[in-house]
Amino acid sequence: MLDAADVVVIGGGNAALCAALTARAAGASVLLLEHAPRNVRGGNSRHTRNLRLAHDAPTSVLTDSYSVDEYYDDLLKVTAGHTCPALARQVLAASRTLQPWMEAHGVRFQPSLSGTLNLERTNAFFLGGGKALINAYYATAEDRGVHIEYECEALTLKLDGRHCTQVTVRQHEQTFDIACRAVVAASGGFQGNATWMREAWGERVDNFLIRGTPFNKGRILRDLRTQGCAMLGDDTQGHMVAIDGRAPKYDGGIATRLDCVPFSVVLNQQGQRFYDEGEDFWPKRYAIWGRLVAQQPQQVGYAIIDARSLALFMPSVFPPYKADTLADLAQQMGLDPIAMQHSIRSFNAACQPGAFDPDRLDGRATQGLSPNKTNWARPISEPPFYGYILRPGVTFTYLSLKVNERAQVMWPDDHPSDNIYAAGEIMAGNIMGQGYLAGLGMTIGTVFGRIAGQEAAQHG
């Protein structure tokens, strides 16, 4: 373990690696601290698939064009204005330069092929996904002399006013102080910290699943908040989607998503429907369903379909529950068969004749139910019947360090720190304070990682 470095980077995901590579290229000695062991390195970044890039003309992997203005409009739509316009525009404009930089540092892209997403115009897909990207960055970082420590958790920053002098770390039960000229905090959100989550979200989070790494415990986020840095958002905000209830508690990643809801009847544990399953296409609704399921008793939902709908959505990671009768299916899934059958029967009775078309909002709605299902409502009647259990899956938390355009961590009096920088999820709330725009997380991390690395090397 080094006892000093020009730049200490805390974290081992996309933002941290971009910062480390840039600081190293600017001539600094760089120490990167990753809490996770090598074989699960890379935080939530290793579960990602693409990033969103503005571009004026088609590139090797993006079609057509995507202007910064259009990108900004998309951002405003999802965040409902919870964004800092100057920083947001800075990120979106810089996104135009990312593809060549990433490729020069080993990242490979592929044309988007299959799946339910239609993102080939706006999003560039990593060949092999986020873990391949992370592997490429680590290999390049090793080649260029970035010093990497795994299983090394940053505990606290030692501050002298607004100046960080040392980072205290723990590795294999031992604690060290590392002197630094600048520090980059790129250690993600706090969704992996069960205690903090329970504190902020209540006991119900015990029934939530965390889609990404258990190593994002928010220790540095909390440390800097405690030491008085300026924050954005509050602890209770997180991005959630409805995922397969059988997913592991952590790191279930993308494969645990379930796309069946629009073609299902979804019941809660009492066997009651609670929301319009057919309100819109799934990509526009999966985040809402995360919250809906979280509000149900025991934070669980039961999606039921019949034989006709099984092939209408992406295959899922766990085989569905399957039975020839509804009662049997209810039994298997732990639902009360009487309540469940009653709900399905009333749903079936409320379905109206009409054309069923999974590819558009077909307007085939139920009548007289509360709530009605407003599209794709056809009776659940053809055995075998299939069921999936839904749970809320947390993607990330929004609580952020406030930064300026140079990635410096701000203080409540609106003054920047001397040499403390932040990049990635830990400051994403400055740009995406609410909602989610697919692929923006990695863009923010790459842009601000590079800024933080550059600034830390030059001004630290």
């Binding site: 299959s114 873990k131 391949a132 592991p248 494969a255 990671v317 009360d336």
Partner: protein, 395 residues
């Protein structure tokens, strides 16, 4: 009160159900394991850019035994999808596509072997290779000893005329039928694999009439085979032994394959010279058969030695100990065949010629004998899998 009890009961079952469904242990047979893994990959699809396996996979929702055999033989074992996998160990999903497919592939070769009872030859293949090799050596030695007197066998022939020791006719009479049988047996295996195509579960997304017609599919399959496109990881190569990409494996396989083909060309031109023009071996160093044979032999030596070196570097998690004998035995056989061939060529005027000839022909005979029950068959099934891919998978 009753409601609470009911509620508790349901909660209890829910937990039971979830507990039972969590982290199913890796399944026992290669089939079951491949099925489990394909279901995970099909929900994930992050690796779709690496090779043909994933675009083929996404056409299915269910994977029966024949579909899995098809996908396993389509896999070129480049490991791209292992090092990129977010669900590889220590993740509880324990996804390991290359290793699982490697084992399933080997099993499928047993299932398709002709004649059927020879399926057993694939189990303990390394031992079999060595036994056949020893036997073939003995036959050639005893044979050539019977054809010659000892001084003749151990003397130098200034023109390097090995047919003085084993006449051309004897060589053809022994090797010819063995080689033709090998081709036939491999053809029967390939036929069995292809015939199961009808049983490969109907792709879910294949539109009626969506099959690509014969000739373009054939040309594409040939192109993929000759360029090893699927070892190129979409242009970046394989993960030979780490997260880093390299073209080593692809180029070494090229050396092996084209080296083999050149040796084959050497034999063919030699045969042509003999029967069509009456030009008898040994041929001059700058004649076509000898040039083909020399270049081919050198390429084959480099290719196989390199592939073996890479194999030694393979991470434990990607090894299949039960298949080690088959994999390395075959590489060793190819290497020794070409090495002894080269030695024979360069020492053909010395007194060692007789011995070298017997050793070399011993290896050649072994190669021909074991061909249909060796790793060689991967070429047959892989080509057919590529052909099926190009016929079934619309671009």
């Amino acid at each position: 009160m009753a409601e609470t009890t009911q509620h508790m009961r349901i909660q209890h079952t829910l937990q039971q159900v979830e507990a039972e469904n969590q982290s199913a242990p890796p399944a026992a047979t290669p089939q079951a394991e491949a099925q489990r893994i394909m279901q995970i990959c099909n929900a994930c699809r992050y690796c779709e850019g690496f090779c043909s396996v994933f675009p083929a996979m996404t056409q299915y929702r269910h994977f029966n035994a024949d579909t899995l055999d098809y996908l396993a033989n389509l896999c070129h074992n480049c490991r791209g999808c292992y090092y990129a996998c977010q669900y590889a160990e220590p993740h509880e999903f324990k996804v390991n596509v290359p290793q699982t497919f490697n084992e399933l592939r080997a099993q499928s070769w047993q299932d398709y072997a002709w004649p059927g009872f020879m399926a057993r030859a694939f189990a303990g293949n390394g031992v079999l290779l060595s036994l056949v090799c020893a036997l073939a050596m003995a036959i050639v030695f005893i044979g050539s000893a019977l054809l010659n007197d000892l001084p003749g066998f151990f003397s130098a022939y200034p023109d390097g005329n090995f047919h003085a020791i084993i006449p051309h006719g004897v060589m053809v009479a022994v090797a010819g039928p063995v080689f033709l049988f090998a081709l036939f047996a491999m053809g029967m295996g390939g036929w069995a694999f292809w015939a199961r195509g009808a049983a490969v579960s109907q792709p879910a997304t294949l539109r009626p009439g969506g099959k690509n017609s014969g000739l373009p599919a054939l040309l594409n399959a040939l192109k993929d085979t000759l360029t090893l496109k699927n070892l190129s990881g979409a242009g970046h190569g394989c993960n030979d032994h780490s997260e880093r990409f390299s073209m080593q494996r692809r180029y070494l396989h090229h050396a092996t394959f084209y080296g083999f083909m050149l040796c084959f060309a050497a034999t063919s031109t030699g045969t042509l010279y003999h029967y069509a023009f009456g030009w008898e071996a040994p041929h001059a160093y700058l004649s076509l058969p000898v040039i083909f044979g020399t270049v081919g032999g050198v390429l084959l030596c480099i290719g196989t030695a390199g592939l073996y070196r890479l194999k030694l570097k393979t991470e434990t998690s990607l090894r299949s100990p039960a298949l080690w004998g088959m994999e390395t035995g075959f590489i060793a056989l190819l290497f020794l065949t070409s090495l002894t061939g080269l030695l024979l060529l360069f020492l053909r005027e010395s007194a060692a010629m007789g011995t070298l000839l017997a050793v070399h022909l011993g290896f050649v005979l072994t190669l021909f004998l074991v061909l249909p029950y060796s790793k060689m068959v991967h070429g047959v099934y892989r080509f057919l899998a590529l052909l099926r891919f190009h016929r079934n998978t619309p671009r």
